[in-house]
């Protein structure tokens, strides 16, 4: 069966999460008072700093570990992380940009057909799980790719994985399974 289909499926990456370290201790109060677009959360012990371009939210801990979320591509995430490190540098900390790693990628994809979730779960018994009382989507976990796919009955799926390549592979893997249990559309044009 064709895993890459006739009309190309658009996989839209909505979120990329990355972490990096500055290898130096950061004074959160200084950052909070001297930076724009910052939220200081002393109870938790972190500072949230939002960059405009690329649109990124970063959680900064005093140990120097930083998590960047909200980027739309891996390159964007790296650029945003570097920008952030630059800002911290300018604030006076001896920042060294190290251990940059993309931790999670979230992508959304839409199938042109509806999916029968119960059949899908039956066919893929241990890997897929569907609990309508808890969540309307069926969860399909691919262990060797470390990817999780949530399948909704409307045909849209969300995929999370450690990097963009894994996400693409996961979609290709799951497409034939979804194709089997698709629900043929009867009425395309409703009054």
């Amino acid at each position: 069966m064709d895993s890459s289909n006739d009309e190309a499926l658009d996989i839209i990456i909505t979120n990329v999460v990355a972490t990096f370290r500055t290898r130096c201790h950061l004074n959160l109060r200084t950052i909070a008072l001297e930076g724009t677009n910052v939220i200081y959360k002393p109870e938790v012990g972190k500072v949230l700093m939002k960059l405009r371009k690329p649109k990124i939210t970063a959680s900064i801990w005093s140990s120097g570990k930083i998590i960047c979320t909200g980027a739309t591509s891996e390159d964007d995430a790296k650029l945003g992380a570097r920008r952030l490190a630059r800002v911290l540098q300018k604030l006076g900390f001896k920042v060294r940009f190290s251990a940059f790693k993309v931790v999670n990628v979230l992508a959304v994809c839409s199938m042109p057909f509806a999916i029968h979730l119960i059949d899908f779960t039956k066919n893929n018994r241990p890997i897929a799980s569907y609990e309508p009382e808890l969540h309307p989507a069926a969860t399909y976990r691919i262990k060797h790719l470390k990817a999780t796919i949530q399948v909704f009955s409307t045909g849209s799926i969300t995929v999370t994985g450690p990097n963009v390549q894994n996400v693409a592979t996961a979609v290709e893997q799951v497409y034939p399974l979804l194709f089997e249990v698709q629900k043929p559309l009867k009425k395309k044009e409703k009054s």
Binding site: L33, G35, T36, A85, Q89, K94, R96, S98, E133, L134
Partner: protein, 638 residues
């Protein structure tokens, strides 16, 4: 043991007598064995001539020592930890299972699941309650009983999703494939609770047909089965001329009103809803519908398409508007050279810091304003506004000193920044000498102030594609820092106080030498509740358990008085007939249970009182002014 050789004579003919328990060689007569251990079942005659087998059943994974008492009251002395865990688990399963009215077979299966879970060490880090609830729900699913996860969470007062998480994990680890929930399973149960009397069966059948129809119409994927059941039952009830309101149904089915309404509207959209009752019972339509969310998505897509078309048409019109816009701009340019000149003079007066402020705020605003440029009308408006603003700025700049302007309150500073932004809009568009001049001065000031930072990285930060000027926008300058510090200090005064106190406390403790690194958790000892009457005792207990805010104590007290007065009549009917003070079903249930508990305790107390006899009555009559049956139990030492 079979056919051994005799030691004395070598003969192999050995006679084993089970009754005497001895083995004798038949050739020489020497006794080879005495007191042979026999593995036979012995019978003992009990009272009334009943013979029963001697012995006890010992389970394979039970305790190493045989249980001393055979009646089930196992003491936990001298048992391994694993056995204790299993025992405790079994007890909890029995308790919870009996509340759900599960039969013994289900409970045994649940206990087997629990044993598997314990042997896989999955109970570590999880509350036993959660694990047990998950085991029970696993059994319910595999057996197909009409129990919902919601029921379990109601009983335990735990969030459904937490239980669900545990359940999913256990199902995965134990490789148990629970079959998918069928809403048809729940219909008989809900139908009973809705009290249709004789016609319950018919209504159930109708509701079943409805649910099956909904399944074919794709309404059930991704939805809670209880919601579908609720909708089906409501329609079925109306079809059989029972008046059940939405509220009745939701109290039974445990979904929200909105959900039920939505299901009903979705069903309304299907062609089946157009049939009459008789037709529905006879005919089953062939067509299947698309799932409702799919239809909604298609609808959205259509709307978006329409909007795009409209936008395209607007673009055509805008082309004309932009021509007018250009003409207007050129007109305004001509009328403005005076202001620019004045502005340039103004720009030279202010400090480089001020200029930095202006530029730092101007650039991000510039980007936003550039977006606005696409709309001709707003541009026109801002230009008018700018003329006014610039005139104001002139006046302000010439009146006061620069220091005064800088040291002004935050509002003014913000105001000047805001006004600087629309100024920048003009500057951005018009390639005027003044704006260029400004930027040059800014560049100089910036590079002058911070020449060192760019080089002091340590070589690990790659500066490709990072615009330093943009980065600087993210840093406030000194005045702003001061203002922000003040604000922040005021806002977080409480937190700062706490921190200081904590530090002082730690210092003191360090001096005294009693400083402990981590605060130890002190175990709460349960206090004995001292109360004079049962009602008070119950109130205090409830307060301690901190559920009291949802209970109306007046009614509870009355209930106690009423209950004790008549000697504790039928509690459920009274509880249900009490004026419902609470709205949600969860609270109602809680109330019912609490009242039941209250009534039960009252009955117990009354029973105890009668047992105790006169002495108690004497005590009561002398101490309390309430009714006779109120018991002062703690002083008596029950």
């Amino acid at each position: 043991m079979s056919s051994r050789v005799c030691r004395t004579c070598g003969g192999s003919d050995i006679d084993v007598d089970q009754a005497r328990g001895s083995a004798v060689c038949t050739s020489c007569g020497s006794v080879l064995e005495d007191n042979i251990i026999v593995s036979e079942v012995q019978f003992v005659e009990g009272s009334g001539g009943v013979s029963s087998a001697v012995g006890q059943f010992v389970s394979a994974d039970g305790p190493v020592k045989a249980p001393l008492l055979g009646s089930g009251f196992h003491t936990s002395v001298g048992k391994e930890s694993r056995a204790q865990t299993l025992q405790g688990g079994k007890r909890q399963i029995q308790q919870l299972g009996s509340q759900l009215q599960l039969n013994q077979h289900c409970l045994d299966t649940a206990f087997n699941f629990f044993k598997m879970v314990v042997s896989k060490h999955l109970t570590r880090g999880r509350k036993t309650e959660h694990v047990i609830a998950a085991c029970l729900y696993l059994v319910c699913r595999t057996e197909g009983t009409p129990h919902m996860l919601l029921d379990l969470s109601d009983l335990l007062q735990v969030n459904v999703y937490i239980l669900g998480k545990t359940f999913l994990l256990l199902a995965r680890e134990l490789c148990i494939n629970a079959p998918a929930i069928d809403p048809c399973l729940y219909i008989p149960r809900f139908a009973h609770m809705l009290e249709f009397g004789v016609k319950t069966h018919e209504v159930s059948m109708t509701a079943l047909r409805l649910v099956q129809r909904m399944k074919r119409d794709w309404m059930h994927t991704g939805r809670r089965p209880s919601g579908l059941c609720g909708a089906a039952l409501l329609v079925a009830a109306r079809m059989h001329k029972f008046r059940r309101t939405v509220k009745d149904v939701i109290s039974v089915v445990k979904v929200c009103q909105t959900t039920l309404r939505k299901r009903l509207t979705e069903f309304e959209d299907t062609p089946t809803s157009q049939l009459t009752i008789d037709e529905f019972m006879k005919v089953d339509l062939e067509q299947e519908c698309d799932p409702p969310s799919f239809i909604a998505a298609q609808h959205k897509a259509k709307m978006q398409q329409l909007e795009q078309e409209l936008a395209r048409k607007l673009d055509d019109v805008e082309g004309e508007i932009s021509c007018y816009k250009d003409e207007i701009e050129t007109e305004l340019e001509k009328s403005r050279p005076k202001l620019r000149g004045i502005y340039a003079a103004y720009a030279k007066e202010i400090d480089p810091e001020e200029a930095e402020v202006l530029s730092s705020t101007s650039d991000p605003e510039e980007q936003e304003v550039e977006d606005d440029e696409l709309q001709a009308a707003t541009q026109h408006l801002t230009q008018d506004f700018l003329c006014q603003v610039i005139q104001e700025e002139e006046g302000r700049g010439k009146k006061t000193d620069d220091n005064e302007v800088e040291a002004g309150p935050d509002m003014e500073g913000a105001g000047s920044q805001r006004q600087a932004a629309p100024l920048a809009a003009i500057l951005g568009k018009l390639p005027s000498a003044a704006s260029l001049g400004l930027q040059q001065t800014l560049d100089e000031s910036e590079t002058g102030e911070k020449p060192d930072d760019e080089q002091s990285e340590g070589g690990e930060l790659d500066l490709d594609g990072i615009d330093d000027q943009e980065i600087d926008k993210y840093i406030l300058n000194e005045k702003e820092v001061q203002v922000k510090t003040e604000l922040w200090m005021k806002q977080n005064a409480d937190y700062l106080k706490e921190q200081k106190e904590k530090e002082e406390r730690i210092k003191k403790e360090k001096e005294q030498g009693t400083y402990k690194e981590k605060p130890k958790k002190s175990k709460k000892k349960k206090e004995q509740i001292q109360a004079s009457t049962a009602g008070e005792a119950i109130e205090r207990m409830l307060e301690k358990k901190k559920i009291s805010s949802k209970i109306n104590y007046d009614v509870l007290r009355d209930l106690n008085r009423g209950g004790t007065g008549s000697g504790g009549g039928s509690s459920p009917s009274r509880a249900s007939s009490d004026p419902p003070n609470t709205n949600t079903t969860a609270r109602k249930r809680l109330n019912r249970r609490r009242r039941k508990k209250a009534n039960d305790t009252n009955r117990d107390l009354a029973a105890n009182a009668s047992i105790m006899g006169k002495r108690v009555r004497l005590l009561i009559s002398s101490t309390s002014k309430r009714k006779k049956t109120a018991v002062q139990f703690y002083s008596v030492g029950i």
